[in-house]
């Protein structure tokens, strides 16, 4: 009897695999490689800072760019290990509408606060002075990149802190994987639908953040564009972040839409459309938001992302049988 059941299960396996996105495939092919790369590139960044803390050092800036790229491709995966303590916020505090990052860094530097010399204690410091966005100010902001002995130590402390946070997230994912794979009545996730909802939430929130913050903040309003609010503009990374996040979200969307070839094609086409327009923009920091002609192009890219969001909401969600639920961007 048991044997027959097993046989039946095996026979059914391919069927179920195509009927539903595979959580384990999403974990193994989408989530884990990203966090593994985040840990290793952050480690490399920290090593580069130890070897040369000069903010204009090519090696340091290159290592910074590589690790930051990986973070942007990972930043939509806000669940489990990233949400322990303040990890994700400590890697990436942005948008910073009140200028907390330059203020916090300027205070540390002018006080020569000893906590800036102590990587282990640095996790006590405001998230505004930690992570990739704070490091950008230390490496690229005219005022805050001024070299000094303290500045050098601070760069090393911030990069060591980034490496420690990234590796803690990566380590925890090994066990957190099982939480996603074993839903049950008394588990964190009560059903596979709840796990899928978590994945859909990551996709939805990632798209929302890229459209509303990465593009929406510099766009401001027609009468009052805000180019100074572009993400990571000091290092010229604003448009690159939109590209990287869209590519990563495209990968997640293709996993989630695996059971419906038409939907999968539609989503793929919509992502390619947005990415294609972005590739022809040739405006790395969205300086064009202030010019009516080029502003329109940036607005259209935002609308393309809006189209993807609509497809995800009205077609992908129902296909998966779940709603996107609430995310941390729901406030105002």
């Amino acid at each position: 009897m048991r044997r027959i059941l097993l046989a039946a299960a095996v026979a059914c396996a391919p069927l179920t695999a195509t009927a539903n996105p595979s959580i384990s495939a999403i974990i193994d092919d989408h989530i884990l490689p990203r966090f593994e790369a985040l840990a290793s590139t952050s480690q490399a960044l920290s090593k580069a800072a130890m070897q040369n803390c000069d903010p204009t050092s090519d090696d340091l800036r290159t290592a910074y760019g590589v690790a930051f790229d990986v973070w942007v491709s990972t930043s939509h995966l806000r669940l489990g290990p990233t949400e322990v303590d303040d990890r994700a916020f400590a890697l990436a505090f942005w948008p910073d509408s009140r200028g907390a990052t330059p203020r916090a860094l300027a205070t540390l530097i002018s006080d020569e606060d000893p906590i800036g010399l102590d990587a282990a204690a640095y996790s006590e410091v405001s998230i505004a002075a930690r992570g990739f966005y704070a490091l950008e100010f230390l490496l690229y902001d005219e005022t805050l990149m001024q070299p000094s002995e303290y500045h050098c130590a601070l760069v090393q402390t911030v990069t060591t802190d980034i490496a420690a946070t990234s590796s803690a997230i990566h380590d925890d994912w090994h066990s957190h994987k099982d939480v996603l794979l074993s839903p049950g009545p008394d588990a964190t996730y009560r059903s596979e639908e709840e796990v899928l909802q978590e994945m859909l939430r990551a996709l939805t929130a990632g798209l929302q953040f890229t459209q509303d913050s990465r593009l929406g903040r510099p766009l401001g309003t027609f009468d009052r564009p805000q180019p100074a609010r572009a993400e990571a503009r000091r290092s010229g990374r604003s448009a690159k972040h939109v590209t990287l996040s869209l590519m990563s979200l495209q990968d997640l969307a293709s996993h989630l839409s695996v059971s419906d070839a038409n939907l999968s094609d539609t989503l793929n086409r919509q992502f390619e459309d947005a990415l294609g327009k972005l590739a022809t923009l040739n405006d790395p920091v969205f300086a064009g938001v202030a010019d009516p002609q080029s502003r329109l192009k940036i607005e259209v890219i935002g609308q393309s992302i809006g189209t993807i969001r609509t497809t995800v909401q009205t077609e992908l969600g129902p296909t998966l049988g779940v709603a996107a639920g609430f995310n941390s961007l729901d406030g105002d």
Partner: protein
């Protein structure tokens, strides 16, 4: 035996329709609570207005204290209304006028030197309209010789497209009553002297007449804004009609408000970010040191709309068929869990309030390395996040999908982001 069971089943079957909770009744209760809650906000704001008028007409330490007490009382009902945001477009379109935060208070009045001047983000962060009857704003000459509700609402609010230019609402009034809190992470709220409103030689920090004019105008505006919203929820009002026009969407609106206020707004933007930034400016009511109450009454408001119970400021109870009743009909166990989670969150937020009222100020809790403070605040954050997960389960169980979308303007209207 079988026959007996069948009979029972039939009896139950017959009884059920009579007992069934009607969705429209649940929506009625929700709208009744909204009407009472905004009505109470108006009543307490009118008391604030009387106290403000007394302060401006007859400035004294006693009258300033009385106005502050009236402001604090007015916050009790208002913070409970925040659960009506995010799910009801009419509330979202209006809310920024009465409760916008955080604000660059230098727009309004004098500030300490440590505040700094205009910033990258806000060229008018230190405009000080009370000291400057005329100025230029985004290239336009502004005549502010007379400070009127219209000036605040039409010209100064979100001046230059910057959200931190908050000229109206509770927090602008709070700043005018308390002044900046210059105690950093220490205890104590803002300490504006009553003589900031004194006449003649007793006037401190200049322009006392204009300060009084600003305070009066901001309070008058708050009253008219609250009158509008209380009316919108009354029988025949537009908020109520909109809610009742589609029963499923109405239930969605209730749950969207509960989830968005719990997670993104209170747990995230207001509480978690503050503790991670270690910044006393991240307090929601940073001038009056009333932040513990802001969070607590947000939690109570969320519980109110689920249980269908609201205690009015006169002590009377507004109640009726509730979302909880509706949920219990579908899945009584999930309803019990939901109630438990809402209670846990209110308790966790209550602990912050207890500690704060006993002398452990919210800005002390935010200080770098303050382990007890962080644990208290994170207790509230975790309670709110935890209850959000259950709100999602209630949504799934009731089959009201599409929730969580109404709260986000950009999804309602893909072009909103470009406006």
């Amino acid at each position: 035996m079988k026959r007996y069971l069948l009979t029972t089943a039939i009896a139950v079957g017959l009884a059920t329709p009579a007992l069934a909770v009607e969705t429209t009744d649940v929506l009625d209760t929700y709208a009744d609570i909204a009407a009472a809650n905004y009505g109470d906000s108006l009543i307490t704001a009118q008391r604030l207005q009387a106290a403000v008028n007394a302060l401006v007409a007859d400035p004294s330490a006693e009258n300033l204290t009385a106005a502050r007490a009236a402001w604090l009382a007015a916050r009790v009902p208002y913070q409970q209304t925040e659960v009506f945001r995010f799910g009801n477009a009419i509330v979202d379109d209006w809310e920024g006028k009465v409760n916008a935060w955080p604000l660059d208070e230098g727009l309004i009045d004098y500030v300490d030197a440590s505040y700094g001047g205009p910033s990258d983000e806000n060229a008018f962060a230190a405009l000080n309209v009370i000291a400057n009857p005329t100025f230029t704003l985004s290239g336009q000459d502004i005549d502010a010789t007379s400070i009127t509700p219209a000036l605040l609402e039409d010209t100064l609010q979100e001046a230059d497209g910057v959200e931190a230019n908050v000229a109206t609402g509770y927090h602008a009034i709070e700043f005018l009553l308390w002044g900046q809190d210059l105690n950093g992470h220490g205890t104590g709220a803002g300490d504006r002297p009553w003589t900031d409103y004194a006449m003649g030689d007793e006037c401190t920090n200049g322009n006392c007449d204009r300060r009084g004019e600003y305070l009066t105008a901001a309070t008058d505006l708050l009253i008219s804004d609250l009158e509008y919203m209380a009316g919108a929820w009354a029988i025949g009002g537009e908020a109520r009609s909109e809610l009742m026009s589609d029963a499923d969407a109405g239930i969605s609106a209730i749950l969207t408000g509960m989830g968005s206020l719990s997670y993104g707004e209170t747990a995230g933007e207001r509480m978690r970010l503050g503790v991670m930034l270690n910044d006393p400016e991240e307090e929601h009511s940073c001038f009056a040191d009333n932040t513990h109450n802001d969070h607590y009454y947000n939690g109570v408001g969320i519980q109110n709309v689920y249980l269908g119970e609201y205690i009015r400021v006169d002590g009377s109870l507004v109640t009726g068929p509730s979302l909880s009743d509706l949920m219990a009909e579908t899945d009584a166990a999930l309803d019990a869990e939901m109630q438990g989670k809402l209670g846990d969150a209110v308790m966790a937020l209550g602990r912050i309030k207890i500690a704060a009222e006993a002398g452990f100020a919210y800005d002390q809790m935010l200080e770098r390395g303050n382990v007890e403070g962080e644990a208290l605040i994170m207790g509230g954050v975790n309670g709110l996040i935890d209850q959000t997960r259950f709100i999602e389960r209630v949504i799934a169980a009731l089959g009201v999908d599409g929730v969580g979308i109404e709260g986000s303007d950009s999804l309602d209207d893909p072009n909103a982001v470009f406006q």
